[in-house]
């Protein structure tokens, strides 16, 4: 397990474990990590064996164990540890939160339980069966436009990077079948565990996510057992919301939610004050709706 150059884990009592997407690298969380560090959070974006790009193949149980080990390392040094994941990293983060209920908050960005966005080809389900054929080690799923990006300038830059290298700052050019198969197993396992996750949860998802449709976020929102749950929908991004047009909104809302989570639970005698009357009204409305539900 390697720490990336932009890991900063000293000088704060609140650390955030950032988990990147499947077969990708911590580069895709660079902007978010930097902003969280500026806001006073310690951030750690590890590479996990078998899960990150260029680290071989491991079953998904090993991914979870490696992520839990990283969580425990942070928990030994910091008072609060939150978990944040992007794409399949969000699914992995939910698995870690299930095993470590002491996690302060869980940030699920573009969570992927099913690859069912508009850019996923209709024959995608056949890949589940191809895994059991000799093609398993030969076939690789190739990432194609729009590469999770609505921002066209960034998309062309990524397209050039993908042609030169096997990986870019928004993910890998190819994903192997074994990794996809393990990701499917992980998603299936997390789907069953969601009810048992009580950690404060923030879900951020783009309505036009080309990889995982809004059904994923809706399912998590209605199933997860968290009492403090917030869902934010974006309309000017695709799947890679930490790099796309609304990355500043994503980072700001993550930081705000982390602060609110600490204020709402640890300092329950002195929670974050609500002085805006409009916000107070809105919170009362939401509480009424929640009671009726």
């Amino acid at each position: 397990m390697n720490a990336t150059p932009f890991s900063g884990i000293e000088g704060s009592d609140h650390a955030v474990l950032l988990l990147h997407g499947l077969s990708s690298s911590p580069l895709e969380l660079r902007f978010l990590a930097r902003l969280l560090a500026d806001e006073g959070f310690a951030t750690h974006t590890p590479e996990l064996p078998g899960y990150s790009a260029g680290t071989g193949h491991q079953p998904m149980e090993q991914w979870i164990s490696a992520a839990i080990a990283e969580f425990d390392r942070l928990a030994a040094r910091h008072r609060h540890v939150s978990i944040c994941g992007l794409s399949m990293g969000a699914t992995l983060a939910a698995a870690v939160a299930h095993e470590r209920p002491a996690a302060r908050a869980l940030l699920l960005l573009s969570i992927t339980l099913n690859y069912d966005g508009w850019a996923i080809p209709w024959y995608r389900f056949l890949l589940d069966y191809v895994y059991y054929t000799p093609l398993r080690s030969r076939y690789r799923y190739r990432e194609q436009e729009p590469y999770g990006l609505r921002n066209e300038a960034l998309r062309s830059k990524i397209a050039r990077a993908m042609q030169k290298n096997d990986i870019s700052e928004v993910g890998p050019a190819f994903i192997g079948l074994p990794a996809l198969h393990e990701a499917g197993r992980l998603a299936g396992s997390v789907t069953k565990k969601l009810k048992g996750i009580g950690t404060d949860c923030l879900i951020i998802h783009a309505i036009d996510d080309e990889t995982s449709s809004p059904h994923n976020a809706r399912f998590v929102g209605t199933t997860i057992g968290a009492s403090f749950l917030r869902t934010i929908w974006l309309d000017d991004s695709y799947h890679m919301i930490t790099s796309d047009n609304e990355r500043e909104v994503v980072a700001r809302e993550c930081a705000l939610f982390l602060r609110e989570s600490v204020a709402a639970t640890v300092s329950s005698h002195n929670p974050a004050p609500v002085v805006s009357r409009a916000l107070a009204r809105r919170l009362r409305q939401l509480a009424t709706v929640a009671r009726k539900a």
């Binding site: 309505i207 449709s213 809004p214 929908w233 309309d235 705000l256 004050p273 002085v275």
Partner: protein, 266 residues
Amino acid sequence: MEVINSRRWAPRGRNRWIAAAAALGAAAIIRAILHPLLGPFMPGTAFLIAAVLVEYYCGLAPALCVMLLGLCLADYLFVPPYGHIDVIDASDLHLLISYPLLTILIISLVERLRRAQYRAELLAAVAQSRYEMLLRHDNERLLARRATDEMHRMLRHIAQYHRSLILIKALDPANSLPPGSFVAAAATATPNALVDDASLHAGIAYCAKHTQVHEEDLAHVRVHLTPGHHRMRFLSGARDDWRPVECVCDRFTTSSGEFLVLRADD
């Protein structure tokens, strides 16, 4: 605004296929029950209704399957000669043309409306998220403004009463940003101010009047200072001649932390 995912409005999973199969079976059973009454009249209507309901609740693919299977069942079971599919006459042609045409037309309209409905729901969810973000940021802005106003009030207070100040205490030195330097700055602005390492660490700065206060009273307020009125012993001229003086403690919740300012109410 186009939302490409609006075409993915239908629920996922195998349940929708089970529901579609159940709808097809129910349509066949109902039509079979009514067969003695209807005879060869309207052989595809039950399947048309089933296909439209499946389209509304389960999506396009199951609806098309129900339509195609319904066409086969209707032609086989309810178009004379019953139980034969190899004989094609006017009745078969009538069914083969009218039933798919009508069903596809209705299914297409329902699909279009469902996509528009899903798109509207997604956009409404975005609007709601943005409204709540706006409210949260407005709250943050109001909090920051309130803290800034309080800081200004505290600075005015210190400037106005600097000759009668006894001490300034940070309520939470660990979380004040930064309490020590703020208290030190306030203290050095007043004559006879004292900031030693221990008091600075504890977030306390002694001001002009503290030298006249009885040591026991000073030790008491150092630990148990609360906002409000306090009576303290002040040195009055001769040695060991103490007189009671009313003192006032004010609380300030600023952007740099919470502070208590104690002054003699001269």
